[in-house]
Symmetry: C2
């Protein structure tokens, strides 16, 4: 019955932590080194590495290795899939309210 892939599952899990969302926010401004992307998080390096790893495993963050330089960049596919799913639910929900409103308006008109 599952209509959403496991990819979306990993994406939502990956985004379910404020430190990981702050890394995504930083990378939305452009590619960055691990140090730049995780600056000011106020937690230890191993903790940060773990959070980056969770984002990489979900494909939300992609690591580009160029010699000794590691750059992090956003993996836009998973983010787009998650956004599309959320938007679809909201659209269906909103169209439901339109239907209810139409019904109430019609009923009101029939009364007068």
């Amino acid at each position: 019955m599952y209509s959403v892939s496991e990819m979306a599952n990993d994406t939502f899990s990956a985004l379910a932590h404020p430190i990981r969302r702050s890394i995504v926010e930083r990378l939305a401004e452009g590619p960055a080194s691990v140090g730049e992307a995780t600056r000011n998080a106020g937690v230890s390096k191993p903790t940060l590495s773990r959070h980056v790893r969770v984002l990489e495993d979900a494909g939300v963050v992609v690591r580009v290795i160029d010699g000794r330089t590691h750059r992090l960049t956003l993996g836009i596919g998973p983010l787009t899939e998650a956004t599309t799913w959320l938007e679809r639910q909201r659209a269906r929900w909103e169209s439901l309210f339109d239907t209810v409103e139409d019904y109430l308006e019609e009923r009101e008109e029939n009364r007068t």
Copy 2:
């Protein structure tokens, strides 16, 4: 440094399970009883209750009690907040590519 509230945190956690997303998908079509919303999930009642509870705790699902009837409905606030956050990151990321494209086009023009 966290620019996203804890509400979004709970929302993404709540959506990070396929059974919980299938409940949200069902409720996007309209309010439903617990039985209707969790039909065909293929797991035990206690497991379903736990998933519904996670959604309720996050405010993604709201329970309306009318006498002996319990109806579940979507709590649209948290869903909207999560969607807004995702859309913002994507928009910033896309505008970044526009900037890079503009730069490359300009450089190309200066060359000719």
